[in-house]
């Protein structure tokens, strides 16, 4: 099976400082791959480099299409739903308007309307909150909104940047369960960045461990989970 995402020798820079030192990984169609690592390992930068938000070199191929050097909005139009770090809620807009912003690129309004219905099957809570100002939602609801917004793009690939950040364990579990459903039912491939390694390894089929902008280990989730070193540094048992 061909890959949804193929990253080769990706380097990224913030001004003069280099944040990624040539990382390579891939994500199979319909799969979930997680990038693990400590703060500053380059996880968020990797997602941003894929989306053309930082200066990057190397090769990024999404479903057969090279995207290195493309503007963010062109990458997004290929069907990439980026759920950004910190959720990126449009705080002054209503929940409904937030979801409508996500339909910005959609030409097919009927498909967008169907996706809105699909979003409500995953997150019925958002339907109740449609008219509410998004900035007044709880953290968990804002994360749900961020995932929903990405879904409204009709994505083939979702890039999820720490969806568990700052949320209560119960909410995190709920969100991860829904992510699994989205992956299986809507056939969306996922690249997941997480600090919560235990949770991420449970959801993902493959994992890559980053340290200071380099891949230091990779394998199936089971392999990574059973590695002594990883267990000590990231899983804490």
């Amino acid at each position: 099976m061909s890959n949804m995402l193929e990253v080769k020798d990706l380097k990224a820079y913030y001004g003069p400082s280099q944040a990624l030192h040539g990382i390579s990984f891939s994500l199979s169609k319909g799969g979930i791959t997680t990038l693990l690592g400590a703060n500053g390992a380059g996880k968020t930068t990797t997602l941003r480099a894929i989306c053309g938000m930082v200066r990057a070199e190397g090769s990024v191929i999404i479903d057969g299409e090279p995207v290195t050097g493309k503007a963010t909005e062109s990458v997004v139009r290929l069907g990439v739903g980026h759920v950004p770090e910190g959720r990126g809620t449009f705080t002054e807009l209503s929940v409904e308007e937030n979801l409508r912003v996500a339909a910005y690129t959609r030409r097919d309004k009927a498909a967008a309307a169907r996706d809105l219905e699909m979003v409500f099957t995953y997150f019925p809570r958002l339907k109740e909150r449609m008219a509410q100002q998004a900035g007044t939602l709880s953290g968990g609801e804002q994360q749900m909104l961020a995932i929903s917004r990405a879904l409204m793009l009709g994505p083939r690939l979702m890039l999820l940047d720490e969806p568990s950040f700052g949320l209560a364990p119960l909410i995190v579990q709920e969100i991860f369960r829904i992510m699994r459903r989205i992956n299986e039912e809507a056939k969306v491939s996922m690249l997941l960045v997480e600090q919560n390694a235990a949770l991420a390894l449970e959801l993902a089929d493959h994992a890559y461990v980053l340290e200071t902008g380099r891949v230091v280990m990779s394998g199936t989730s089971a392999e990574v989970r059973s590695d002594e070193q990883i267990r000590k540094s990231y899983l804490g048992y």
Binding site: A71, T89, R100, Y104, A112, A131, Q132
Partner: protein
């Protein structure tokens, strides 16, 4: 208001497609507009409202259009401009030159002034994309300072008449309408404002408006929604300049005169003050902001004289002091602007249910 929005969207049209999010304009606003349009008949014919007051009202509406334009940029898109007086000047001069030199009909000059300002605004907005916050403010400030000098430039004198400015004359009302020129122009200005506010309202509640606000709230997340920020921001700059340019053009017509010194940078600041005091990112705030620009500033002077003569203050009072005090008091009591303050006051006093 929020509840009517959802019922409206679920009720509207084809359920298979995403319906728009436009809300209807409240009835009391239409009544207000009709009343305003009847003023020349009521007040004018009975002599209750003098031509001078129609001129004042016209100027107020003109500033409302300008503040609205700035509000689209600063309030809804988050780009600060300290230089919108420049677009006001461009609009005014385009209209004045077309009337003075090319003898065009004054109404025909309006769309041309708007187009010219859209282009100038777009072209300025494009490179200004690289600038954010303070830096953008500074660049626009430079524009406000440069334009009056530019208008005085020797080689443009055949067109601009340099520092002397251009005199144009108030047009007579058409079809032998029993109105004074001031009353007629008041109606023209009012009609322009109504159209421009409705257009702004549609922009803000449309796809474009949501993109503008998304960029303001979360620039990175807006990119991930497939929004072309660069294009959206420069188009917003153009639209904003277009509004301010129309205001400038109307100002030239009702004032019958343009000169470089009418557009000093204080005008840009006054517009920004109007936008903030009225209520940033609200449309009604622009109307209040227009009031503020026209009246508070002008009447601060009269108020100063009145206070000095009646209270016999031991200190010397300057008009700007009053202006400053009013500003400080308003910002402390209504940090969300007058529109925001009135809205929260209404939420407190309105009957429950």
């Amino acid at each position: 208001m929020a509840t009517t929005m959802t019922t409206e969207t679920s009720a509207a049209g084809d359920p298979a497609a995403l319906p728009g999010l436009r809300r209807p304009i409240p009835k009391w606003i239409w009544l207000g507009i009709i009343f305003a349009a009847l003023l020349p008949l009521i007040g004018g014919q009975t002599g209750l409202i003098s031509n001078f007051y129609f001129l004042q009202l016209s100027l107020m509406i003109v500033y409302s259009i300008a503040v609205l334009g700035l509000n689209l940029l600063t309030g809804f898109n988050g780009q600060i401009s300290l230089g919108h007086g420049a677009f006001f000047a461009v609009g005014a001069y385009v209209t004045a030159i077309l009337i003075d030199r090319y003898e065009m009909h004054y109404l025909a000059t309006l769309p041309l002034a708007m187009i010219a300002c859209f282009i100038v605004g777009y072209l300025f907005g494009r490179p200004a994309l690289r600038l954010e916050g303070h830096y953008l403010a500074l660049a626009t400030f430079a524009l406000a300072i440069a334009v009056p000098q530019f208008l005085k430039y020797r080689h443009f004198e055949p067109l601009t008449h340099g520092v002397q400015g251009i005199n144009i004359f108030n047009p007579d009302p058409p079809f032998g309408l029993p109105l004074s020129p001031d009353q007629w122009l008041y109606l023209v200005v009012l009609a322009c404002a109504v159209v421009m506010f409705i257009v702004a309202r549609n922009i803000v509640q449309s796809r474009m408006g949501r993109a503008m606000m998304a960029i303001r709230d979360q620039p990175l997340a807006a990119d991930t929604m497939g929004i072309n920020s660069a294009r959206t921001k420069s188009i917003t700059f153009g639209i904003s300049a277009l509004y301010v340019g129309l205001a400038g053009a109307l100002h030239a017509i009702i004032f019958e005169f343009v000169s470089p010194d009418s557009f000093r940078f204080e005008l840009s600041i006054a517009m920004l003050v109007g936008a903030v005091i009225g209520g940033i990112a609200t449309l009604s705030g622009a109307v209040i902001g227009g009031f503020f620009v026209q009246f508070i500033e002008k009447y601060a002077d009269a108020l100063t004289k009145w206070i000095t003569s009646t209270v016999h203050l031991p200190i010397h009072l300057e008009p700007w002091t009053i202006y400053g005090i009013v500003l400080i008091v308003l910002m402390y009591t209504m940090p969300m602007g007058i529109a925001g303050g009135l809205a929260s006051l209404w939420r407190k006093i309105r009957p429950p249910g």
